[in-house]
Amino acid sequence: MHLTLEFAGGAELLFGKQKTHPVDLPESQTPWTIRTLLVWMRDNLLRERPELFIQGDSVRPGILVLVNDTDWELLDGLNYQLKENDNILFVSTLHGG
């Protein structure tokens, strides 16, 4: 399954400073969800300091997850079933002023 992963607000610093990552997930018996995507990302994209991105089975506090620019809370959160060509954006919250 093809997805576009995007990172903003500094989250990209954990992913080689690259803001956009087109990825192809391998075929799977069970449907891909954000929960399983996070595991895949930890194993395949996130090489250093995973605790700055993932906490337990979710993202760490202070990171918003957007599916096609919509807050994952308006969808099924971790259980959202990914669809072909979805855009998943991870935004780290800024605090400077």
């Binding site: 607000g9 954006l89 400077g96 002023g97």
Partner: protein
């Protein structure tokens, strides 16, 4: 001036001064009157607070409150355009007040040279119609959010770092908008929090976001346009890209604005205690 209706309370000097706003369709004398009768509180007179204060002072707003506990430093001047070389060492609120009053001597300005705490914030926030969060650290952002929810005030919040900015309006009751805690029930771990002092910020990024805060404040106070509520604007100055994301509604489980809130009398610290390194750890003051 022609075509200006006469049933209003503006003086001829005001009609002249604000004529380029008055003639705006969707604005007009009655929006200008509402602005004159309104007040706004700017918390943080730094990178965001500078343009926000300058544009609100210019606009014909009636009363402006300015909060900061810091003094002007030379390293502020690359982005904090309300301050001057001659005000380095003065308090930021005094420096900002000076510039605002030079632009608009009719504006009433209240200054608060203090560190906001859960003890003093409610007493300040209650005197204003809208609050602008122009601060630079996580703890104060939770504090301001809680105070705004408890006081039923809309909160126009912006933040910047490096080449990026974020903007939204929290606690906009007319549209069941979420508060900061609805989105961020838990504070981020301290080691993930960067500040402008740590990693820098480019001045015009502050200018863009701070101007947009003033714009949202004027729209909100005059009741024109669509307030940026249930949405967040993400700005990336390096690629010059702008993106609006759709946010969740008010959360029934929220600790401060939910149906069974645990924060009821005064603001509370965020659940996961942490401090920023931009200023002395503030855990103790909350």
């Amino acid at each position: 001036m022609t075509n200006i209706v006469r049933n209003h309370s503006l003086s001829n000097a005001e009609v002249q001064r604000y004529s380029r706003q008055l003639i705006l369709s969707d604005f007009g004398v009655h929006a200008q009157e509402r602005l004159k009768d309104s007040s706004a509180l700017i918390i943080g007179c730094g990178g965001l607070g500078s343009p926000a204060a300058l544009y609100l002072a210019s606009s014909g707003l009636g009363r402006l409150g300015l909060v900061d506990h810091d003094e002007v430093d030379m390293s502020n001047l690359h982005r904090q355009i309300i301050h001057r070389e001659s005000t380095v060492g003065k308090t930021k609120v005094e420096s900002a007040q000076l510039t605002c009053s030079q632009i608009n001597s009719s504006l009433k300005i209240d200054t608060y040279n203090l560190l906001l705490t859960s003890e003093n914030i409610l007493d300040i926030v209650k005197h204003y119609d809208v609050i602008l969060d122009c601060t630079d650290n996580v703890i104060t952002r939770y504090l301001i959010n809680d105070a705004c929810v408890l006081s039923h005030k809309p909160l126009i919040s912006a933040s910047v770092i490096r080449f990026e900015g974020q903007l939204t309006v929290w606690n906009y009751l007319e549209k069941n908008g979420p508060c900061y805690r609805c989105l961020y029930p838990q504070a981020p771990p301290a080691e993930t929090v960067s500040t402008c002092s740590d990693v820098g910020v480019l001045g015009p990024v502050c200018g863009t976001l701070g101007s947009l805060q003033a714009l949202e404040a004027i729209k909100l106070l005059t009741k024109i346009g669509d307030v940026l509520c249930n949405r967040m604007l993400l700005v990336d100055g390096l690629s010059m890209s702008f993106r609006t994301i759709k946010l969740r509604h008010r959360q029934p489980t929220c600790a401060v604005c939910g149906t069974n809130p645990s924060i009821v009398d005064r603001p509370a610290p965020p659940p996961a205690g942490q401090c920023t390194n931009d200023q002395p750890c503030r855990k103790n003051v909350l």
